[in-house]
Symmetry: C2
Subunit: 220 residues, 2 copies
DNA sequence: TAGATTGTTAATCGATTAACAATC
DNA sequence: TAGATTGTTAATCGATTAACAATC
């Protein structure tokens, strides 16, 4: 059983659990019912001790000598990750990126339902994307209240991102996935994860420059 | 001057340099010509010693007692990050996501030019997105060779990602930004950075579950 | 029982931060 | 010169990995 009240763990653990969950879910569908940390590690390119340690923060899920029951561990991970329910999610900004996110099928598959997009452009407001309405920003607070939305995705231009964030926080949003290339300031109990696409490309460009000029040792 | 042949540094340093660069570039445009690591740190929410350490891997850019010359440091960082040139980039997959990426204006602004999209769907091939052509996958090798493309972005469905990766590697691509939620295997000298959007949302869902049930200590 | 594999401890590795001598 | 701020060293903190006793 998932254990209560265990102590701190690395920030990277949760994202790995998400990987484990996906792999196990797939194994489960393929009819495989037991797997060792060693075998799972080979499949995912992760050390077996890493897997065992990550799991150990949440409970004892395996059987010594036997490995892990795939169905059981999948169920426990689903619970731990909060995927045993559906999450309504809103997208701020109905530009190309916001629309692509609204249409991203993987999200729905994992229980994240995009329930509305928000924008301020006359042109966009009122339209819909695969049945998801584009609403005006001034309907935000009402919508969040009525639909119990706790998670928002920000896909607006950088200069609007902080303002939109403030509106979200005031309206009661608890978690934000931010795609705008700015570092957002929020109250203590709101969680923000930022994904900066340009920075990722720049890291690759750095690597290419390195290859080009043989100047620096790099990346581990 | 940017220093030659310094030793290993944390994997996180390059992404931070990218942040510093962006902030400095902006300061430079605002006409500010000197800044201390302390002031920059406050602005970016980073410790001043972190900034000085990150920079120290590449050279001595500051003046004791004075801080850093904004224009000069910007120029050096641009060089270090390989942003003193333009990079042709291709996008694999012309679905919603691939198209959104092709239209993402931030990329061009930082010197990354999307020069083509690739797909296999009859329906998509031949069309264009803001003047960027959608080509058939069988033109990949020829295109890469003729246009000296070294960076590719993967925006295809998960089950196609590894195959596409293999084609890219065979065609001579050196760096890949991967949006498919799978862990890609590549030859040693090809650099892959993966961004898994679902995993990010799942990390947020975990946090919300924690809030909901008060079960676990979390996130530092 | 013998073999396999867990969960956990301890060792290692890596990254951040504080502190300060060097120096503009 | 006196004050400010760098670049760097050393201390701290955090994450990964190896090793192994516990046990199925």
């Amino acid at each position: 059983m998932a254990r209560i009240n265990k102590y701190k763990f690395p920030k990277t653990t949760i994202e790995r659990l998400s990987y484990y969950f996906r792999a196990l879910d797939e194994l489960s569908k393929r009819g495989i019912d037991t797997i060792s940390s060693e075998a799972l590690g080979v499949k995912l390119n992760v050390k077996s001790s890493q897997i065992r340690k990550d799991l150990s923060y949440f409970g004892d899920f395996g059987k010594r000598g036997m490995g892990y029951d795939v169905k059981y561990l999948t169920k426990e991970l689903r619970y731990i990750l909060g995927l045993d329910r559906e999450w309504p999610v809103i997208v701020m900004g109905a530009g190309h990126f916001g629309i692509a996110i609204a249409q991203y099928t993987m999200f729905k598959k994992h229980g994240f339902n995009i329930v509305a997009l928000f924008d301020v452009s006359e042109e966009r407001v009122g339209k819909d994307v695969d049945g998801i309405k584009i609403l005006h920003l001034n309907e935000l607070e009402k919508f969040i209240g009525e639909n119990n939305v706790e998670i928002a995705i920000i896909a607006v231009p950088p200069n609007a991102a902080q303002d939109v964030t403030n509106l979200l926080v005031d309206a009661g949003i608890k978690a934000i996935l931010n795609f705008a290339p700015v570092s957002l300031k929020v109250e203590k109990d709101v969680r923000v994860l930022s994904v900066d696409l340009t920075t990722k490309l720049e890291a690759l460009a750095y690597y290419m420059s390195y290859t080009r000029d043989k100047l620096w040792k790099v990346f581990s």
